[in-house]
């Protein structure tokens, strides 16, 4: 997994609540057996006017000029600013894969759906929860300032606006450690093989039918 530490990234505002994972990456792209290449189909049904299918040349498709990601001022955005309950719906990890492949490294929202939130950390994508009022202010600032960027410092757990105003954010210590160091969980968990084996012996004695 890619390490995450500091980012000074262009912000794109996606001003709608309850953005679900079906919207982030529609189901037809879930037929892939790979974990890369989903970026061109992130938000496919909003981003393009024609119907997308796997294997299409996306550069030849009809772009929806009204969709915020397609506006020239937001090209190259690395920070996605969103509303509440972002990432609700299905557990598809293809959603964070698509956002990461598109170029996002940070998603800021007042709240996230649990499974999506968890999946982000496995893919070098940092989801940041901020108060709805702070998010509201950011939406206003992005709208009025072209080229609006945010500095994100994971080590210090702060985001900074261009005028230097800092806002702290919470992040789970274990997840922070993994992101900062680009660690994957499996290797870490396997350091506890003895604990797992000991648990299994106890569990098998208590509920032998689970192992019959």
């Amino acid at each position: 997994m890619r390490k995450f530490n500091l980012l000074d990234g262009l912000v794109v505002p996606l001003d709608r609540a309850n953005v679900d994972t079906d919207a982030i990456i529609p189901k037809q792209f879930l037929k892939s057996i790979k974990r890369s290449g989903f970026g061109p189909n992130a938000f496919d049904e909003w981003r393009y006017l024609d119907h997308g299918e796997p294997g299409m040349d996306n550069s030849k498709r009809q772009i929806n000029p009204d969709f915020v990601l397609n506006q020239s001022r937001y090209q190259g955005a690395q920070v996605l600013l969103a509303r509440e309950n972002f990432g609700c719906g299905s557990s598809r990890e293809h959603a964070p894969w698509a956002l990461e492949d598109y170029g996002f490294q940070v998603v800021i929202a007042p709240s996230f759906a649990d499974i999506f939130f968890n999946n982000c950390f496995k893919n070098g994508l940092l989801p940041i929860k901020l108060d709805a009022s702070v998010v509201d202010e950011l939406f206003k600032a992005v709208a009025t300032n072209e080229g609006y960027k945010l500095k994100v410092d994971l080590e210090r757990q702060v985001i900074a606006t261009p005028d230097g105003k800092e806002t702290a954010f919470e992040v789970d210590a274990f997840r922070k450690h993994c992101l900062l160091n680009g660690l994957d969980d499996i290797g870490l968990t396997l350091q506890h093989v003895d604990d797992i084996k000991a648990f299994e012996v106890k569990h098998r004695a208590a509920q032998p039918w689970l192992y019959a």
């Binding site: 649990d114 499996i186 396997l190 299994e200 208590a206």
Partner: protein, 467 residues
């Protein structure tokens, strides 16, 4: 000893180790696997030269991509076919039991698992699918995980997790005529919202829940995720134990007696503390119909499409406006005046035998309305299909003008060929009415099986509690 919730008991009995900050390794008893969210996990295992920790804990089935007609011809779409073949190859390579497309036991993963007795009370159950919450109906701790976690569980038999908060959803009283578990689920979501359960594990309790069959409890827990809760659960009781008894993967002989003794303890203790409690009166719940693009956008059959002007805040107002535009609905339209084009009865929410029976009871002796382009019934598994045919339900549906299909996820998420055309409106027994869920431009109204069948007959939504 402190009074424990059911969730406490399930969590405590699976903690392998826990750090001071609450980050824990929890042991997983059962991992269910399907073709969509597993190929990258198997690939990761192979690249790291790792082996599954315990293949006997895994059970696989293709469901999302499978066709529901003309199975003999195989899967026409080469990309879908490759995904299913990849599952077959991975299961063969690692020695994982898989019910392939031609197997009568094949079906939607969350129908198949319980049907086989592969979901047992007291278990931790995971699957790379958010509707894994279904299995909580068995007093199991069950939730959906992403593909990285699928690989993690394969490799380590554990999951890195932090304990959620506990919410009690208590539904007391008796459900009215024509009102089912699906209506309870939608009513709960309507009350707490699609993020109302975020960060919580929900326990459904109360006399109305006790009165539900296992099929009904599965429908309810299935939709816990639509309320934002990764896990939903119901305490074990005689209904649970009776359902599990004699199923292929259920314990037998001496182990059965021992298991039952343990399962009988799987309920919240008197005085157990919940972080939040929500109460509903069963008698007040009417048949539900969603009108928008989120399951929380729901009202009952006597209701109207809401006016965005009456939304509680600006964000909701613009959500409602966008939803009405997408759904092609006018504010204040009575729900019963909404005409539908297609009807879908099936899915991990409502593809079980009881759902087939409820829909058939409505359709019996009637005909699908002229304005309905397609009414389809997709049983949740080959075994549900066989049972329904034994009861003659297939004939009831076919005579009424429904199509009787082969099992799979089908038009719940439209990954196979079963989908709506842009602008088509569907009465659907599935779980999500998101934009594009049933096909680009699709318009989904979530309802119970009885309500879906009634909409097929009338051509528009009608109140099944009055028929």
């Amino acid at each position: 000893m402190n009074a424990k919730t059911l969730y406490d008991k399930l969590w405590d009995s699976h903690v392998v180790r826990q750090d001071a900050d609450g980050t824990a390794l929890i042991y997983i008893d059962r991992q269910l696997v399907h073709e969509v969210t597993s190929p990258q996990a198997f690939e990761g295992l192979k690249l790291a030269k790792r082996k599954p920790w315990r293949t006997a804990s895994m059970l696989a089935v293709p469901d999302h991509n499978v066709p529901t007609t003309n199975r003999a011809a195989g899967i026409a779409d080469p990309i879908s076919r490759l995904q299913v073949e990849t599952l077959d190859a991975n299961c063969a390579e690692f020695g994982i039991v898989e019910f392939k497309m031609g197997d009568i036991r094949q079906g939607v993963v969350h129908v198949m698992g319980p049907e086989q007795g592969a979901t047992l009370p007291g278990m931790t159950v995971v699957c790379g699918d958010s509707h894994t919450s279904t299995h909580g109906a068995f007093a199991a701790l069950a939730h959906g995980i992403g593909t990285s976690e699928v690989e993690h569980v394969m490799a380590t038999q554990c999951l890195v997790a932090k304990k959620s908060k506990a919410m009690l959803v208590k539904v007391d009283g008796v459900l009215g005529r024509g009102v089912s578990a699906k209506d309870v689920a939608l009513a709960v979501i309507g009350k707490i919202g699609t993020a109302g359960g975020t960060g919580y594990a929900i326990e459904f309790a109360g006399s109305a829940i006790r009165g539900l069959s296992m099929e009904g409890r599965m429908t309810l827990c299935n939709m816990a995720i639509e309320a934002g809760a990764r896990a939903g659960m119901v305490a074990a009781d005689d209904t649970t134990i009776e359902y599990v008894k004699g199923r292929p993967f259920a314990p037998q002989g001496e182990n059965w007696d021992k298991a039952v003794g343990y399962w009988e303890t799987l309920h919240s203790d008197d005085g157990a503390k919940f972080d939040a409690t929500v109460e509903l009166d069963a008698a007040q719940i009417k048949p539900q119909v969603t009108w928008g693009t989120s399951p929380e956008m729901v009202t009952d059959i006597n209701g109207h499409v809401p006016d965005p002007a009456s939304a509680p805040d600006a964000v909701k107002r613009s959500d409602w406006e966008r939803a009405l535009q997408y759904m092609g609905l006018q504010a204040n339209t009575p729900i019963s005046e909404i005409k539908v084009d297609k009807v879908f009865i099936g899915s991990c929410t409502n593809g079980r035998i009881e759902d087939m029976r409820e829909a058939a009871a409505v359709a019996k002796g009637k005909k699908v309305a002229a304005n309905i382009k397609l009414a389809m019934v997709v049983p949740g598994s080959g075994l549900v299909k066989a049972q329904a045919e034994k009861e003659g339900l297939d004939k009831v549906f076919i005579e009424a003008g429904f199509e009787w299909r082969d099992p799979g996820c089908s038009m719940c998420l439209a990954m196979n060929d079963d989908r709506l055309e842009s602008g088509e409106r569907c009465a659907s027994t599935s779980n999500r009415n998101f934009e594009g869920r049933q096909g680009q431009g699709s318009r989904t109204h979530l309802v119970s099986p009885a309500m879906a069948a009634a909409a097929a007959i009338a051509g528009h939504f009608v109140d099944v509690s009055k028929s």
